[in-house]
Amino acid sequence: MKEFIEGSHAVAQIVKRCRPGVVSAYPITPQTHIVEDLAQMVSNKELDAQFVNVESEHSAASVVLGAEATGVRSYTATSSQGLLLMTEVVFNIAGMRLPVVMTTANRAISAPINIWNDQQDVMAVRDSGWVLLFAESVQEAVDLHLQAYKLGEDPDVMLPVMVNMDGFILTHGMEVVDMPTQEQVDAYLPPYKTTYKLDVDDPKTMGYLADPDYYLEIRSLVQETHRELLEKIPQMASEFQKTFGRECGGLIQTYRMEDADQAFIAAGSVCGTIRQAIDELREKGKKVGLVKIACYRPFPKAALVAALKNVKEAAVVDKSISLGGFGPFYTDATSSLSSLGAGMPKVSGFVLGLGGRDITVKSIHDVYEKLSGRQVDCEFIGLKQELLAETE
């Protein structure tokens, strides 16, 4: 059913319809509305779940870890500093292969402190083993949560899934969303059943120590599962499309790429602004398109290469940066595209929108202008020169 609804409310609604048994989170802007809604639902008995108000994100993640290990579907959400504070647990949850679902309301990280949107936070855990999905719109955020549970809880997967949605832009943006009904959700997502749990009738030991004789193989199996996900995720997207009649998820999505010889590569809500810019550029006769990274881990190397093998130039739009290195999307993308050898397009890397610096259509045009110029690996767009001067 179509609704005009705030992103956070929409996510809370879909999470509720996924029937988690335990919800635990710690407040941080701009994630708060999601968990506040869930708290209200529990208070009103609309949602039969244990809502655990913890004392830090480290414990929020640990509570859902414990609940999930008890065989109960769990949910948490965080952002920015919260994600950094729970880093150790985030890695641990993946290593323990517990299919927790977490929403990250993407936000800048300290120092300096800044509550606005970018995507630096999620990058800090891109090695952790979580499946990392990125929503472009509120609709996608909703649909990805549904897919996240189904994907993570697949007995052949058993990995946690993070749905990234840009803070404020999507969490606080109100949009028209086709909300899956409870019936649809129940039909799509079966209750969580597993034997991998703490059960007094079948007592297992979880979270053991693995010495050098065993560790390598155990870690390699996580990587192996990610490799398998490169098949499963597109399958899931096409099934989803069949069931719900909407395109959502998958590894990548493309926009006007059929005949493109120039392309943007990006993820999240900025793709909308890029689409707008592309339409304008197309009107001027530029053959430009977009490859949207819908799933960042596993990294969709083959899909990306296939989508870009015919373009001449590409610009990667990163809303984060590996300081002293490059934008993470840029690095992964160029690394992957290098497999094209001599056929690799000329790719430049741009960093935009850190700390909520507004990304306008003009920003995208600025990137486009530079696409054909000197190749750059990590150029900031939109710097105010007067602020760069030494102040003391």
Partner: protein, 187 residues
Amino acid sequence: MKEIRIHARAGQGAITTAGILGYAYFLKGQYPYAFPHFGAARMGAPMNAFVRIDDKPVRLRSQVYNPDFLIVVDATLMRGFNCYVGFKEDGIAVINEREGMEIPKPQGRQKVFVVPGNKISTDIMGRALLGNTVLLGAYAAATGQLTLEDLANAIRERFGDKGQKIVDMNVEAIKRGYEFIKEKAKS
């Protein structure tokens, strides 16, 4: 695509206002995208909310720099700050009147309507709480974007669970705002 910028102070209900506005467009079958922009400051500090409307889903995620329509919830905001920045040449603004505050002149074909939102609200319920809703009625009349019924429907959907009385007062506020502009147009 139409773009609306709302100026308010944190705590003055700009987001709710943007939400109702968006909802009215939604009920008409359009695709609004409404979103706030906060600073780091608290209750009382200036902030914005934006609404962007199109007949297909809005993808553009940037703030609104060149609004077609302006809604100024609190005229004191115009003290020392130019709410008209980027305002479209043929834009329409609806401003909540504030005693003693002079409203800067618009330029060219821009139209500015000063509406005694708080006064009308006080008329209706004894307090100024409905000021924004009055502005919405005025917005509909001034821009012709929405009918009274569009807005009343939105109010009913959004405030339905708050009780009939709240709905009625809000609908009344909308009507009064709407009529205020219509009256003015006549005069």
